[in-house]
Symmetry: C2
Subunit: 500 residues, 2 copies
């Protein structure tokens, strides 16, 4: 078994090296690459990612897995070896079900669709994008077909993001969540609005950067194994546990953009830096799911970074960076401003209370077009009517409506719900962390985050991708995923702020 | 033929994509990678470069070449197609002669040797490095053996850098050059020394950067297809003609370091940006040799950048950047300072007149140890005695002596002479450019470089790697490589400065 496992790990290591190279090429593309490099880069990316895929779906991988599987019975099923074989088998079988020709065609279609979306969005012209999205939807349905039979046509794309999760489970959770989250927003809407104009003054970008990095370091982001750069769209990328990078986008006239963006990406980066080195260069040396990754970023952005204890410690520091803008603003006013709830058109700018409703709208729509209940041509109207239903507002055009997000243009269907799931997971993990670290709030008030990070390392990070997400949440908290902690958190927090 | 050529180009394109990816990984390693990324990066680099090598030496490439070769007779021998097949065949046959196991072992040995050299250099401890260098030398001789029979054991490593060039030719050129270059230095030594302390004041780094980039742009460096970053050792790298980057190292207390470094790297970058797009992703979409590449960097660094006409235009600009340091220094004093000749220990800091002697010393030594006439253990003494002979000075320790250069530690033997050849090529091309552009000096005095760059594009850059270096110098200048133009240039320039 040892030799066979070694052979398998060698191939998987090569795949991981190629994937890490793709990630470096992409990081560079979004940070420093001059415009002239685009064509050459897209060819290099296509070659290297194709080789990664081809190396992974090679017959030899299947043979080695088959040779290893009979021996698994004698292993601890939760051992690294047993889990590595299981997860690799799962990913291998999935990847082998998709014909190489489809992969190539999908890459071509989505590359074109992404380019057109960029233009369509700027021009707020859905008609331009429509034929491309129709083709993407068609191919996504075709993709689901490779995994038939399934309970829902939405199962295969969901499984790509949340391994093992079913659409029925997702719907049940969202249905329990929706009415109570809508009720919260209605309750808030009846209260006097909060003024956040103090966040929209002129904030020097270099100082924003410095404050963000000061906080990131205090959270535990290790800069000997990471760095921050600027990019048009903030993201986190990890090439290995020794090199996990974040990017940020700063807005001189809107402080939260860069600040909470940096907290958010730092949360992602803490996860990737906490992945176990012993699993490096294997398919389980990564997060188990998109939602779990999001839960870590949301924890640091919101549960920590938008909390009163955090600002008790950090507001004086922020005032020291910006005495002119904030010197005469008291903590409570500032705290209320960064937690203002207001229905808005753009998902990425939404507050914690309204955010999930943006997601539910998208989930409704992508399930509907995947199931064939909604024609792509009717999307803009369905979008607008959903916005009215969930948030009570109507987008003035498609740019701030159906064209706002990049995801569908790149073929990513089944991605959106992971944002909402991430919020729920974050709250459920948070309740457990609070009970395991009784003085957590006090620690945060003192600017101490070591125990919290250690708790995450222990309960989430160290497991890498060994488990399925719905397994790990039970392992970490003792209960299956439920929206209750999240609702408790929202009601408590906004109850206090808005006096509900 | 068309289909066969297309198949060949597809494989070569994939190899080029992998090599470009290696170059991006290396660029990042030297500019932005956090220290923690080193281990993972070295594995990714090893995998991707191995795949590039394996794809290139695949049997299929040999088959396609064999299928194409009979058809060459009917093609213009200088056509892209004919040259592509010829150059690919040459590189393929060379690469196939070296066993994969040797390649892997050599990579392992030199990686270790490089690491040890870094430490040995810091500690000025040659004994530490010696066993590693012995192994490198042994493997380099073994490498030469794969290409037996040869006239000189130095031929194979030289051919890796200057395709088609023989050691005998190289020696003949250097022997013609040596006595007259030594004589020049002796003549200068009898004159009063030049003071360059004005270059060693405190020069703000941001302003150094800005001045360097102002000049780089005026030379013709296209920043929509390039960029500058900082690194410990300056270099130029090109991923494709649309993305050619330079790096610089600035010394706050020594102006020439960053300034001439930037001019130098810009010269390299202008070459890579001028390679023909139609050859992209083939083995001839690159410079034909190391010496030719160096000739372009030396042209912009020295023949332009250290010339009187250049400074007539740019000195007032530089004074405007540094009024405090240079405001009261006249042009002639400045010009003499940046052209000061003085024997020194470190090659990379040597002036134009002494530089080649540093190279000749290294060539003597590497030929001697490759031919078995000199034991590695005796290198430090041989180095010191060579320095005394050529430059009349004795290094105080090995750090500024035999341990100063990285090359041997990485296995690069046959590389050093290309620096000297680059100087000779630069001067020979320069004489031709001057006769083709009669008012070249006047143009430079006006800060106009367009005609010069166009001349380089036409006579050097556009040919990529289609020709062998000794072919192209004839094509471009009408004469084989000769040290005469270089000697004429040196004697004229320093004759004027030092009143010889």
């Amino acid at each position: 078994m040892d030799e066979t496992l070694k052979s398998l790990k060698e191939i998987l290591g090569q795949v991981a090296d190629l994937e890490a190279s793709v990630a470096v090429l992409e990081w560079d593309q979004q940070t420093y690459m001059p415009p002239g490099g685009a064509d050459g880069r897209s060819m290099a990316l296509s070659t290297v990612s194709r080789l990664a895929h081809e190396s992974f779906i090679d017959d030899r991988v299947g043979e080695l897995l088959s040779a290893l599987e009979p021996g698994l019975a004698s292993l601890d099923p939760d051992s690294d070896e047993a889990r590595l074989v299981r997860v690799t088998r799962r990913q291998y079988d999935k990847a082998r079900k998709v014909p190489a020709q489809f992969v190539a065609e999908f890459r071509r279609v989505t590359s074109l669709s992404f380019q057109t979306w960029q233009e369509a969005r700027v021009r707020s012209n859905f008609a331009l994008f429509r034929p491309h999205l129709e083709r993407v939807v068609e191919m996504r349905r075709q993709y689901a077909g490779f995994f038939a039979p399934y309970d829902s046509v939405y199962d295969p794309p969901l499984d790509d993001h949340e391994p093992g999760m079913k659409t029925a489970e997702l719907k049940a959770i969202f249905e329990a969540l929706r009415p109570r989250q809508v009720k919260l927003i209605q309750a808030i809407a009846e209260k006097p609005p909060v003024d956040d104009s103090l966040l929209r003054l002129n904030y020097d970008e270099a100082k924003q950067w410095d404050f963000g990095m000061e906080v990131a370091k205090s959270f535990g982001y290790d800069l000997s194994r990471g760095r921050e750069d600027r990019s048009a769209h903030p993201f986190t990328t990890g090439f290995n546990t020794g090199d996990v990078r974040i990017t940020t986008r700063l807005d001189r006239n809107y402080l939260p953009e860069g600040m909470f963006g940096t907290f958010h990406e730092t949360g992602h980066a803490l996860y990737d830096q906490g992945l176990p080195q012993r699993l490096e260069r294997t398919p389980i040396a990564r997060s188990l799911s998109y939602a779990f990754h999001e839960s870590q970023s949301r924890t640091w952005e919101n549960l920590v970074g938008r909390s009163r204890p955090f600002w008790k410690h950090y507001y004086p520091r922020l005032q020291a960076y910006f005495p002119e803008q904030l010197g005469s603003v008291d903590l409570d006013t500032f705290y209320r401003a960064v937690n203002r709830v207001v229905p808005s058109f753009i998902r990425t700018e939404a507050d914690e209370a309204t955010y999930n409703l943006h997601i539910m709208l998208r989930l409704d729509l992508e399930m509907a077009f995947l199931e064939g209940r909604l024609a792509v041509a009717d999307l803009p109207e369905a979008w607008a009517s959903g916005m009215r239903e969930y948030l009570g507002i109507t987008p003035p055009d498609d740019k701030v409506g159906v064209l706002q997000d990049v995801h569908w243009s790149t073929g990513a269907v089944g991605y959106f719900p992971t944002y909402a799931l991430g919020n729920l997971l974050a709250a459920q993990l948070w309740e457990k962390a609070q009970s395991d670290i009784p003085d957590l709030s006090k620690q945060i008030e003192r600017g101490e985050f070591r125990d919290l990070l250690a708790w995450q390392r222990e309960n989430v990070h160290q497991h890498g991708g060994k488990y399925e997400p719905m397994e790990l949440i039970v392992k970490a908290t003792g209960t299956p995923l439920t929206p209750e902690p999240y609702l408790r958190y929202l009601w408590a927090k906004y109850g206090e702020i808005y006096g509900l």
